[in-house]
């Protein structure tokens, strides 16, 4: 099968073209060794099927970013049958800069002049025949968006792929033309493939090339000594870049006939940008957009209609039975949309999906299994292990999809780049760039996609730091733990307000993230703040087709990861809670004999400084069991509460009065646990804090491992999560129990900060001495 590679700048419509060409055959994977997306698909309308490879979007073939190195190596080493270089016709100059580099490689090539519809709309004209003549490479006008010219493009590429093409350069006439020619001949003599490309890169002192052709470097260095340019001295890298742009402005730019004469006129995009990044309104608008996204996704009172109009609940309307169940099927549907307030779209989708579709399906399947003649442990494994695991994965889908959709809209419209622009100043204080914001905020939905999203960060250290703090942005699965424990604190001790506790815990997570990043960036992940030189693409309305393709990509990625790891972890938990060390199958209430309880009793003393260890006595292990189950998957903690409470009732003869320990929210279950153990309020808060900041779940651990690549960094991440949660929880418990310990903590923190500053100063001095 022939292989065509798509190459071009970011934001030039490459993804749109790829989607149009390959349709449903698209497949997303990783380039070997790095976490950069590799998209492939098949185009079927040529005489034979063609494999299309979407190279990462790049501005240049320099050796500095993984994307550039991948694109470069692919074209050089894998030798595609044709390179389709997509050029944004509305921004010819900068786009052709990459073209001039690609042209130097000995590979058939076609230029796709994209966004011709936008050019024509603005009244400009491009003489593509003239451009083709001047470039020496075929040019085809297309509109990827309107799917115009695609057939012509592919036919041209197919025709080109049948013959060979030798690289040509625009640098021939430049001051370095002769040197490049000489180096090329020398390389050719050594039987080097693509001699022209390598010659140019060698002259540029490209770090990859100088490694590869050590002998030839000598030749260039000799020339360098005799060379002196009045602007650049002997900085050949600068000279080459300059020569390319000069050639483009002189020879290619004139093929464009601009309609308007004034250079910097206001387009619609400029006008929109004036508002969106306004000096005063920019930040409030950003906060408002962010709030709107979360409101639309998670709010159970859409536009606060319920609160404003004091709408009646379903119970008030007499639509619920005495047990609080909807009276008929119609009301069940209504309950997905309304209960004393209209739900936001995200919640409605979530309710319908979980209560009506997934819930029904697994209820029915569970009934079938229950009624079968299988042994009790097999029924338990299938119903509570496997089915619950699948249902858990599926139940995560709606909020994540809705959140993804909004983020894709931000990305596609061009606003995402502006968010980075607005926030960069703030993030730089913590040693990150504005781009780190997006993955972090996605952490509120689920850590797994958030960690995958860190791929937009170019700097490895910045990426590692971001991956590590993502779990501190409390994800959807942690919220039920928060509401259950906070609710129980209020109900049992009659102190505080559950919403306030929840809110403060979210805040604690954010503060912990900021402090951790600061700490890491000044100790183990020290490094220069990565540069922030970024294109701000023009605003445009998001394309439905693109959004869906985007959404589909992300969903596939998530489901693949989630299905394997989350499913496996629920089965592991089920196994650990339903079998004893003596290999005996246990009923739910016998959790105290389970393997998990055994392990928990063993490690219980470790949790003493956190308030839920040895001091809780005989039944104290219940909190440890919940916490340990949470390390595997946070959504399991609530389920564990219920079984633990049931077990306490059975084993400890606990008198729980009117508590309903099986209730879904888990508040009563936690109260039963408080009753049995006598745990204090600070210890309960410490318990929540521990759950919020420790190892998030197996799925996130697996993702972190895949994303970080480096084994040391991954192990460091695990140690970081464990120690961060331990220290934070211990501080909360001790200060909450004995206020004066705050002074000890303050002194400790001050000592650590001084130590770091002193150490860094010393290191600086040493570095200076060496110089």
């Amino acid at each position: 099968m022939k292989r065509f590679a798509l190459a071009g700048n970011p934001n030039c419509g490459k993804t749109t073209l790829f989607n149009s060409l390959t349709g449903s055959t698209a497949h997303v994977g990783n380039w070997p060794g790095v976490t950069v997306d590799k998209k492939t698909g098949t185009y079927k309308k040529c005489p034979e099927p063609v494999q299309i490879i979407d190279l990462p979007g790049i501005y240049s073939l320099s050796p500095y970013t993984p994307e550039e190195v991948i694109a470069r190596n692919y074209v050089l080493d894998e030798k595609p049958d044709c390179v389709i270089n997509i050029v944004d016709a509305t921004n010819l100059e900068r786009n052709l800069y990459l073209t001039t580099q690609l042209m130097e490689i000995d590979v058939p090539m076609v230029i796709a002049l994209n966004m011709m519809d936008a050019v024509e709309k603005s009244g400009d004209k491009i003489d593509e025949k003239e451009l083709e003549k001047r470039l020496g490479v075929p040019v085809v006008k297309i509109s990827a968006l309107k799917e115009k010219g695609l057939k012509e493009l592919m036919d041209k590429a197919y025709a080109e792929s049948k013959s060979e093409r030798k690289g040509i350069t625009v640098l021939e006439e430049s001051a370095l033309g002769h040197l490049i020619g000489d180096v090329k001949i020398a390389l050719k003599g050594q039987n080097v493939q693509n001699p022209l490309f390598h010659a140019v890169k060698l002259v540029e002192s490209d770090s990859i090339e100088t490694e590869m052709h050590k002998e030839t470097v000598q030749m260039i260095n000799e020339f360098k000594e005799t060379f002196e340019d009045e602007v650049f001295g002997n900085d050949f890298e600068a000279l080459v870049a300059d020569a390319r742009y000069k050639y483009i402005s002189k020879n290619f730019a004139p093929t464009v006939q601009k309609k308007k004469k004034e250079k910097f006129s206001m387009t619609r995009s400029d006008k929109a940008d004036k508002v969106m990044t306004h000096k005063i309104w920019g930040i409030p608008i950003f906060l408002l957009i962010l709030f709107a996204i979360f409101h639309l996704t998670f709010s159970e009172d859409f536009l606060y209609l319920g609160a404003i109009f004091k709408l009646p609940s379903l119970e008030d309307l007499g639509l619920l039975t005495a047990e609080g169940e909807p009276i008929n099927y119609g009301v069940r549907w209504l309950a997905c949309i309304y209960d004393g307030a209209v739900f936001s779209p995200g919640v409605i989708i979530n309710n319908i999906w979980n209560d009506m579709l997934v819930g029904e399906l697994f209820g029915w399947l569970g009934g079938l299994v229950e009624g079968s003649s299988m042994s009790p442990w097999a029924i338990g494994l299938i119903n509570n292990g496997i089915f619950e695991g699948i249902a858990a994965v599926l139940s995560f889908l709606p909020p994540i999809l809705v959140l993804f959709l909004f983020f894709s809209i931000l990305e596609d419209s061009g606003y995402m780049a502006r968010i980075a622009f607005i926030l960069d100043r703030m993030f730089r204080r913590f040693g990150l760039s504005g781009r780190a914001f997006m993955p972090m905020i996605m952490g509120f939905g689920c850590s797994v996609p958030a960690m995958i999203n860190t791929r937009t960060l170019a700097d490895e250290k910045e990426r590692t730091a971001t991956v590590r703090v993502i779990p501190f942005f409390s994800c959807g699965a942690k919220l039920p733990i928060l509401t259950a424990v906070a609710g129980a604190i209020v109900a049992y001790f009659h102190v505080g307000n559950a919403d306030a506790i929840t809110f403060l815990m979210y805040l604690l997570g954010i503060v912990a993230a900021i402090v951790s990043v600061l700490l890491m960036r000044s100790t183990t992940l020290k490094g220069e703040t990565p540069p922030f030189i970024m294109e701000l693409p023009a605003y445009h309305a998001p394309q439905f087709k693109n959004l869906m393709a985007h959404l589909w990509d992300k969903t596939k990625h998530f489901v693949k990861k989630a299905f394997t790891i989350i499913l496996a972890s629920t089965i592991v938990i089920w196994f650990l809670t339903h079998f004893s060390f003596a290999w005996k199958f246990l009923e739910d209430e016998e959790i105290n004999q389970s393997i998990l309880a055994g392990i928990s009793q063993l490690v219980q003393p470790l949790f003493t400084p956190l308030g839920f260890g040895s001091q809780l006595g005989q039944y104290g292990w219940v909190f440890v069991v919940a916490a340990v189950a949470g390390l595997i998957a946070k959504e399991n903690v609530i389920a564990t509460f219920a079984t633990l409470a049931a077990c306490l009732v059975a084993v400890a003869n606990l008198n729980i009065g009117g508590l309903d320990i099986a209730a879904e929210e888990g508040i009563d279950a936690v109260q039963a646990m408080i009753l049995a153990t006598g745990i204090t309020v600070p210890a309960l808060i410490s318990f929540i804090a521990f759950n919020m900041t420790t190892i998030p779940c197996f799925a996130a651990v697996g993702t972190a491992k895949a994303e970080l690549q480096d084994k040391k960094r991954f192990n460091g991440t695990l140690i970081f999560w464990i120690s961060a949660s331990y220290v934070i929880s211990a501080a909360i418990y001790t200060i909450g129990s004995w206020w004066w310990t705050a002074f000890i903590w303050a002194a400790l923190i001050a000592a650590v900060v001084c130590l770091i500053i002193w150490h860094n100063k010393n290191a600086q001095k040493k570095a200076l001495k060496k110089v």
Partner: protein, 77 residues
């Protein structure tokens, strides 16, 4: 008059004279089209004062002041 890009007022334009600095940042500036002779117009500052947004070669580019400081410009009259 010569001055570095980070010192430009909003609406001020000029032509790149040279780019100082080293390695990756310098190369990146070149790749993005900030080469001697390129016309640059200072568009705006971010709400917190930094980074800045400029128009170069017909598109919008954002860069930090520290990075803009290595771009030496000839101010247009």
């Amino acid at each position: 008059m010569e001055k570095t890009l980070d010192l430009f007022q909003i609406g001020e334009g000029g032509i790149v004279k040279r780019v100082s600095g080293e390695g990756q940042i310098k190369r990146r500036l070149f790749d993005m089209g900030i080469t001697p002779g390129a016309e640059i117009l200072m568009r705006k500052r971010a709400p917190l004062g930094d980074p800045i947004e400029v128009t170069v070669r017909g598109y919008e580019l954002t860069l930090r002041k520290t990075e803009a400081a290595s771009v030496v410009m000839e101010v247009a009259k």
